[in-house]
């Protein structure tokens, strides 16, 4: 992994922590290939859709806990610690015991998505859990690429309310993920 790349991650995450939406998206997109590589490396033999599920669980965790990154701290350690923790959890939940030693990710090669497999079932199923309004928010922002403002307009609630609802929903999603509710 190139040091420049890691520096770029650190800058993006710092901006994302400060509230920059685009930096947040860029950061998540930038780390996705590496995280996917980690998941695939640990999940040898598992179906692509399952690996994509686990990858999305890791992304959700990284996003929700982004404020816990100390700007002075090395970002790779932070990222890999989360990935390791979540990957072990996720695979154990799906019935596969894996062992992930601490120094393992040093030479991970970034993995590209290739042909996108059938839509990851995990998160989609859990999203059906919350109420109808949240389902609309997810659909509008996630699938229809609507902005928060437009979504607020469509639902006749303020932007702040959309943000709050989205945040709460993502936290619930993380809890459902942790409890392995599918």
């Amino acid at each position: 992994m190139v040091a420049k790349q890691v520096d770029a991650w650190a800058q993006l995450l710092a901006a994302a922590k400060a509230g920059d939406t685009r930096a947040c998206a860029k950061f998540l997109k930038a780390v996705t290939p590496v995280l996917r590589g980690i998941v695939r490396a640990k999940g040898l033999g598992l179906r692509d859709a399952c690996c994509q599920d686990v990858l999305q669980d890791v992304l959700l965790a990284v996003h929700l806990k982004r404020q816990r990154w100390d700007s002075e701290a090395p970002i790779r350690l932070f990222l890999y610690a989360i990935a390791r923790h979540k990957v072990v959890d996720a695979f154990r939940a799906r019935g596969h015991k894996i062992d992930v030693p601490t120094d393992d990710f040093v030479d991970v090669l970034a993995a590209n998505a290739g042909t996108d497999p059938t839509e990851a079932a995990g998160i989609t199923k859990r999203i059906r859990m919350p109420n109808a309004r949240l389902a609309i928010i997810f659909r509008k922002i996630g699938l229809e690429v609507a902005s928060v403002a437009k979504t607020g307009g469509a639902l006749m609630i303020s932007q702040g309310a959309v943000c709050a609802a989205l945040h709460r929903a993502l936290k619930t999603l993380a809890i459902l993920t942790e409890r392995h509710v599918t």
């Binding site: 998206a25 994509q52 404020q67 350690l77 610690a81 923790h85 922002i141 943000c163 993502l170 942790e178």
Partner: protein, 211 residues
Amino acid sequence: MKTDDLIRMLAADTVRQRALRTTLTLGLLPSLAFVAVAVWLTLGFRADLSTALVTPLSVARIVLTCLLGVVSTRLALVLARPEGAQTARLWPLAALAGIALGLLVWAFISTPADARQMAAVGKTMTTCLIVIPLLSILPVAALHYVLHRGATTAPLRAGFVAGLAGSGLSAAIYALYCSEDSPLFYVTWYGLAIMGVALISTVVSARSLRW
């Protein structure tokens, strides 16, 4: 859901979380103030407090428990971060335990044989074993809350140090009432109470500190 769609959704979530240090201060300081007031109102501080505070053996209780509390709290903050599990060093805790045990041995040697039992059992053994854990409830809960808002990848260790921190600080406040000055008493019973709270905290954290 396609990963790109998920990322879009995650990026739209800009709600910011308070820094852990702030949450810690807002939670722990009022808890400790409450503990101090509770001790003062129900048990009262010892009458000879000003003398005790300059007596080495007596003040050693407060110093050691305070140190334990502060060191453990700092460790809890480190362990609250994902990479903390790799960077946290637990040796200061071992050092404190060593000092406490050293005091115990010294007290054992320097107390005449027939006075040892009385010094060890004291008059307030049961009070100590009950009150310190009770006082620890709020401070330990505050620390658990901070850890829960964090992202610990070592939940058991985090729960353990949270228990040590909360009960250590509560024991330091309890020592303002307690007039048992022999290490034979306080290393034994305060130590037992603290370890008991730390154990319960560890067990609780196995479930509560998942994320």
